[in-house]
């Protein structure tokens, strides 16, 4: 059974600071997704990581994938209040279903 562990569960950080969210997954899935969810809203796709060593950046967010370590990271640079949300990583089952197994989510709160 595919398991995805994400930490920390909650992160409070000041504007301007840097931090990293970690996502470990248990099988040999090579596709890793990051989503953002605002309160009461749905999931917004941020990044798709398809191969070992993949790195993608969008604004103050950068995601990377190490398939050998079964680890993905989401790095936040110089956080701003607008980044406050819950971030989920999800590993794709590369069998027939392509269903996603989600981590527990990291609730990020950026304070002024």
């Amino acid at each position: 059974e595919l398991k995805v562990e994400q930490n920390p569960l909650f992160l409070s950080m000041q504007e301007g600071k840097n931090y990293t969210i970690y996502c470990n997954y248990s099988t040999t899935s090579d596709r890793l997704y990051w989503y953002r969810q605002d309160p009461g809203k749905s999931l917004e796709s941020l990044f798709v990581l398809l191969s070992n060593g993949a790195v993608k950046q969008e604004g103050r967010l950068m995601a990377s994938l190490d398939t050998k370590a079964r680890l993905s990271t989401l790095h936040i640079t110089a956080a701003v209040h607008d980044l406050s949300a819950t971030y989920f990583c999800a590993s794709e089952d590369t069998g027939t279903a392509s269903k996603l197994t989600f981590g527990t989510g990291t609730r990020l709160q950026v304070t002024l």
């Binding site: 749905s42 392509s98 989600f102 527990t104």
Partner: protein
């Protein structure tokens, strides 16, 4: 519309009643997924459709849950004889091959 559409957005019903949740995927997306998001269990996969067939129903929690998809488009998730533990946000997603899943806003289901 441009995105995945779900209805109703909110549903409150009494324990023991049946409910139907609807999902209208992005036009042209052949894959459709149902997930459930609850405080205790996080985001859980329920069922996957490819076209009108459901090759993976492994996430349906009990035989009270069923889903169908017609015309390769709209899907309905039916919960019979609802229980309080069915209270959750039910999310639908659709995708094209090798593309990230796009999520709807969800149906918030409350069982009294």
């Amino acid at each position: 519309g441009a995105g995945v559409s779900q209805s109703p957005s909110n549903k409150v019903t009494e324990k023991g009643k049946d409910v139907e949740l609807r999902c209208d995927p992005i036009s042209g997306h052949t894959a459709l997924y149902w997930y459930r998001q609850s405080l205790g269990q996080g985001l859980e996969f329920l069922i996957y459709f490819q076209g009108n067939s459901a090759p993976d129903k492994s996430g349906l929690p009990s035989d009270r849950f069923s889903a169908e998809r017609t015309g390769g488009s709209v899907s309905t998730l039916t919960i019979q004889r609802t229980q309080q533990e069915d209270s959750a946000v039910y999310l639908c997603a659709s995708s094209s091959p090798n593309q990230p899943q796009h999520f709807g806003d969800g149906t918030r289901l409350s069982i009294l």
